[in-house]
């Protein structure tokens, strides 16, 4: 009877000891790594850098927390804090991806509008150029403006093709904005020249 009781206590101690040995949250670590990689593939490091950096920093914190626990005696390991941080990595990565998607959509709408505006401006600029008088600078200046319009038109064509081919929208946006400004400036310049000529 006494022997049986001793065996039971020893067995219980063994079970409790084994159960107390917490396992490293490898599945959560893998999931966090995947979520960060997905965010990066989506372009979050460029489109949503704050959220992406927060996710990356959280992953670092979680991995050191895991190793900190791994350094402890098996019975005293506790991965709860690491798990919580790993969960926040996934949340932050998802947020970064959502922000990226939203920003890309907004930029795409903006670029599409810019293409429409620029196309109209190019047509208007060409019409104005045909009406423009040969002033002091004359033919050379008119030719130069013609080349400026041609360059703006090339950029418009490139950006239009870029949108159709799903190229990086941030790059396309950076490309088209100055072209729109240029076309507007040409428009103003030509309108002024024609108006001055009209007054004479």
């Amino acid at each position: 009877m006494k022997k049986g009781l001793l065996k039971l206590v020893a067995f219980s101690f063994l079970v409790v000891s084994l159960a107390s040995c917490a396992k490293a949250p490898q599945a959560e670590i893998d999931a966090a790594n995947v979520s960060i990689e997905s965010a990066k593939t989506a372009g979050a490091d460029r489109y949503a850098p704050e959220s992406f950096n927060a996710a990356s920093e959280a992953l670092k914190t979680a991995l050191t927390a895991v190793e900190e626990q791994n350094s402890k005696f098996a019975l005293f390991r506790n991965y709860d804090a690491a798990k919580t941080t790993l969960a926040s990595v996934a949340t932050l990565s998802t947020k970064a991806v959502e922000e990226t998607t939203a920003k890309k959509a907004a930029l795409k709408a903006e670029v599409t509008q810019s293409i429409t505006d620029l196309t109209a401006l190019i047509v208007a600029d060409k019409e104005l150029l045909a009406k423009a008088p040969k002033g002091k600078e004359g033919k050379a200046a008119i030719e130069a403006i013609g080349q400026e319009i041609a360059v703006v038109e090339t950029v418009n064509t490139e950006v239009t093709a870029g949108v159709a081919n799903n190229e990086d929208i941030l790059t396309l946006s950076d490309k088209i904005k100055p072209a729109v400004e240029k076309a507007k400036a040409i428009n103003t310049e030509l309108t002024d020249v024609i108006a001055k000529k009209g007054k004479k």
Binding site: F73, E143, A144, P178
Partner: protein
């Protein structure tokens, strides 16, 4: 006796277990500790470095810091997989301390690098703008190919795209666009250079001619008119000092000297007014003594060398006249001014006033820079 033996065994086992426990506790207390605080500190510094874009502005330091951090973490993991008393974190400590050092260097140099890049960018923008000003002020009259003009315009747009990025604080993109612009403008400049290099072989001759003309104007206390073809300007000198400048237009093939009648080129050399025409078909005109002796010598020499047809004629009737301001090089070889300008010039100069026509009053390097 039997109980005594059991008791003995119990005591021995107890002593053994206690010894093992003591050894275990001693090992636990004396075992190497992982550099947790250093890892925490490194994370904070790396985070700061990232926020000041050290990965962009101090990429070398930042990359080393990141690599060392990852290596330290791997080393920590490797040691954790060993039996606790066999763990040695010295390598992990060394790696994380290097990571901290490099992250700090990345952090502190990032701001300075950013400012230096900004300064470099702005200086280069100024240089490029000067080149573009050259194009608009000087080279715009040159008979350049469409591809050359396009390169200038592409360069200009790239520069504007760069300035747009610079305005948003993205110096790296701004620099990228600037370099694209530099490349385009560099190609265009090369073409312009090739076009002008041969033409400017005569620069020392032009230099002597316009210097002599100004000297003559100073010595005689009189007027002299110098035409700079590249700049499309006519400069009226009075008593050796610049008195007025006018926009001028030439014949279509204005680059180079006049070779023969009908070549639509404007002659280059030192001339004088031989007749003032108040009732010219071009409003008013000042006839110059083209061809002079030097022109005849050059013309005959070219004929002998077979550079021009034996049947060609030297031409003449080169005038400085009105009807200009068309914004084009349209004359048959004359120099055209607006009617208002020729009125003014006509009233100041007289028969005998020196007229010197040169390719440029500035050297090619002065023009290009």
């Amino acid at each position: 006796m039997k109980l005594g033996w059991k008791k003995k065994l119990f005591v021995v086992t107890g002593i053994l277990l206690s010894t093992v426990l003591i050894i275990y506790v001693v090992l636990i207390l004396t075992m190497d500790k992982p550099p947790i605080a250093e890892f925490d500190s490194c994370q904070v510094i790396l985070g700061k470095a990232k926020r000041v874009n050290a990965d962009v502005y101090s990429p070398e330091y930042y990359k080393i810091a990141e690599k060392k951090y990852q290596a330290a973490l791997i080393e920590w993991k490797i040691q954790n997989e060993k039996v606790f008393f066999a763990r040695d974190f010295s390598k992990a400590k060394e790696l994380i301390l290097t990571a901290i050092l490099k992250a700090q260097e990345a952090n502190s140099s990032s701001g300075a690098n950013k400012n230096s890049l900004k300064m470099k960018y702005l200086n280069e923008v100024e240089l490029l703008k000067r080149k573009l000003d050259n194009y608009h002020d000087v080279f715009i009259h040159l008979p350049l190919k469409v591809s050359v003009r396009k390169n200038y315009e592409f360069g200009k747009l790239s520069l504007e795209q760069g300035l747009n990025a610079f305005g948003k604080g993205d110096i790296m993109l701004a620099t990228k666009r600037l370099n694209e612009g530099k490349m385009r403008i560099g190609v265009a400049d090369k073409d312009v250079n090739a076009l002008l290099k041969e033409y400017f072989n005569d620069f020392s001759k032009w230099q002597n001619q316009f210097a002599a003309t100004i000297r003559q104007s100073a010595q005689n206390n009189s007027y002299a008119f110098i035409v700079d073809k590249i700049k499309h300007k006519g400069y009226l000198y009075s008593n050796g000092k610049l008195s007025k400048e006018y926009d001028v237009e030439f014949g279509r093939n204005w680059i180079g000297d006049k070779h023969y009648a009908g070549d639509k080129a404007t002659p280059e050399g030192m001339y004088r007014i031989i007749k003032k025409k108040g009732d010219s078909g071009y409003h008013k005109a000042l006839l110059i003594n083209y061809p002079n002796e030097a022109d005849y010598a050059t013309f005959n020499n070219r004929k002998r060398q077979g550079l021009i047809s034996k049947n060609s004629h030297i031409g003449g009737l080169i005038e400085i006249h009105g009807n200009g301001g068309k914004g084009d090089d349209w004359t048959a070889g004359c120099v055209a001014l607006t009617d208002r300008d020729i009125d003014e010039l006509y009233s100041r100069v007289s028969v005998g006033t020196p007229i010197t026509i040169v390719g440029s009053m500035m050297s090619l390097s002065e023009l290009l820079n």
